[in-house]
Symmetry: C2
Subunit: 349 residues, 2 copies
Amino acid sequence: MFEQMNGKIGNWLRAGGEEPSVVLSSRVRLARNLKGLTYPIYADNSTREQVVSFVATAIEKSPLLESGGFYRSAEVNDLDRNFLIERHLISPEFIQPESPSGVYIGTDEATAIMVNEEDHLRVQTLGSGLSLSEVLKRATGIDEELATTLDYDYDTDFGFLTSCPTNVGTGMRASILIHLAGLVLTKEIDSVIDHITKLGLVVRGFYGEGSDVWGNLTQISNQTTLGRSEHDIAESLEKITRQIIEFENKARERLVADARDEIADKVWRAYGILRHARVLTSEETMNLFSALRLGGALELFDRVPLRTINELLLLTQPAHLQKYVGETLGASQRDVARASLVRERLAET
Amino acid sequence: MFEQMNGKIGNWLRAGGEEPSVVLSSRVRLARNLKGLTYPIYADNSTREQVVSFVATAIEKSPLLESGGFYRSAEVNDLDRNFLIERHLISPEFIQPESPSGVYIGTDEATAIMVNEEDHLRVQTLGSGLSLSEVLKRATGIDEELATTLDYDYDTDFGFLTSCPTNVGTGMRASILIHLAGLVLTKEIDSVIDHITKLGLVVRGFYGEGSDVWGNLTQISNQTTLGRSEHDIAESLEKITRQIIEFENKARERLVADARDEIADKVWRAYGILRHARVLTSEETMNLFSALRLGGALELFDRVPLRTINELLLLTQPAHLQKYVGETLGASQRDVARASLVRERLAET
C-alpha cells in the first residue's frame, strides 16, 4: 500500500514557499465532531463505523478532495502505519486496526483527514516553508465543503466542540516546523524559546527531543483556540515566526562572521560522513543533514540542494527505509541500508 | 633550501619492499667517532669544525655518496631543520646553528649522515617496508668506504667507541616502523609489546605517543649493540618482526570476520572527513590516514594508494606544510592549509 508515495516526498517538504531555509513547513489542523454521535474515545465500534461511513461519503462528494484516497484502518498494516506517521500524515495514536477509523490522504499529501482519532475529524493541511495563510485557506475551504454534507457539533457560545477542552472554539492548531540551528549554536535558543512561550505559543522539539544541536527541528504552535478567529491565530503565529526568523538570521550572520572556518569544517565533515559512511543511525543522519541544511543557508556549502536534504530526512526514517528496500529490517540492518541509500542519493547530486 | 625534497617523499616511504602494509620502513644507523678528537658533547667549536671538515672530505671521496649534498648547520634555518626532523633525516637534538655540525643527505634520502650529533658520525640508511638486510648492506658499504679515509675510534675488546655506553660495540641500531592497528583494535597490543620487550627489543610510539588507536605507529629496535655481529642483530630483529606481522595479520583477519561493517564504516568515514574537512590537526590527520591504511590492508577500501597515504602522512606535518605553501603559518592557519592540501591530493586519486 501507498506505493505512490514510496521513495518520494510530499509537496510540503519540497523546500518551496517563503523562508524555506529556516521554516520547513506550515501546518493547520481543524478538529471537528459530528452532532449526536459519541466522540471516538468513548464510542463503540458501530458508532465509530458510522462516523467513518459518513465522513467517507462526505469526502467523496467534496470536489476539493477529489484527487486522493481514503484508507480504512483495517487495510493498513503496521509498517504502513509507521510510514504514514513518519510522513506526518497521521498521529502515532491513530489507526488501531481493531477499532474502525480511517484516513484520507490527498495526492500531493498537502491534505490529510484523520477519522476517529481523538475527534471524529482532524482536517490537516500542510505547505512548504512559511505559508500559513495559504494553508489556512485550504483547510477552511475543505472544512466548508465537508460542512455541506456533515453536521458538525457546534455551540454558538463556545464554537466547535472537541474531545479535549483545549481544542474547543476554532478547533484549530496552526504550527510551523522551524530549524533554529543558528540560535542553538550561539546559545540564544533558550531565551528565544522563553520569549515565544510568554507570547502564548507552544514549543516542541520535533525529530526527537534532546537530540544534538544540529538536528534540532522545532515545532511552534498556538495554544489558544478559543476567543479568536482562525485568521487571527494564523496571522499572530506568522508574525511571531517572522520575528524568530529575524533572530535566527542574525545568529547565522554572527556565526559566519565569528567562526566561519569552524562552521564550514563541521558542515563539510557532515557531508563527508554522509557521502561515505557504511553505518548510519537515524539520529546521526538527522544531525548530519541538519548541518548541511545550515551550511547551505550560510552559503558555506552548495553540494546538496535543500530539497534533497528534506527528502533524505524523510526517506531515512525506519519505516520509509523498509518500504524503500521492500523488506523488514532489524535496527542494525536499517543502519546499513540507511547509509547505502544516503550514499546513493548523494552520489547523484 | 631542500627544494628538491619539497612536496615529495623519500624513497623509504614509497610503500615498496616486503610487507609494506604492516611495515612502513626499515632503518639502520651506525655510530662512529674519530680517533684523537674530543667527542661532540664536550668538544669546542674548533674541534667540532675540524670533525665536520674531515667527514665532509671523506664523503666527497666516497663513490657511494656521490649523489647527495652536505649541509653545514649554519646554512640550515629553523624551518628547514624541522623539515629534516619530520623527514627522519636528522634527530631533534641535532643542528644547533651556533656549534659546527652538518648533515649529508643522499638524493633518494635512503642515506643520511649526521656529523657532530651525539657522536662524530651517525650513518643512517633507510628502506621501504621490511628490508633490513638490504639496508644493513648499504650502511656497511658506506661505513667501509668512509673508513678508508677516516680513522675510527675502535677498541679491539669493545669494538666501536661511542659517546653513550649503550651504543658501544657495533654502534648499530636497527629499527623498523610498523603499523599494528589490528593488534590495537583487538586489544592484544599490550601482550605483544610485552613479548617483544622480553626478547630484548625496545618499543616506542612514533608519531606522538598516547595518540588514538588508529594513528599508532610503533618503532621497534634492538637494545644490544655489544657482543653480537651487525648481521646477527638485523637478522634477529627481522625474525621477530616476521612473527609480529603474523600476529598482526591474524588480528586483522579476525577483525574482518567479526566486525566487518563497523571497521568499513570507520575507514570510509575517515576518508569522508579527509576528503571534505576544512580544518585538520596534525594528530587527527595521522589517525584518519592510519584508518585508510588499515582499510586498504583489509581490502575494505581502495580509493587511496598506500603510497599516497604515506606521502600525506609526511607532507601534512607542520614544517612540511609551511615549506609547501612557502610561508610561515600559525597553528590554526596550518590546520586550514593541511585540510586544503589533503583535499587537493585526495581529489587526484
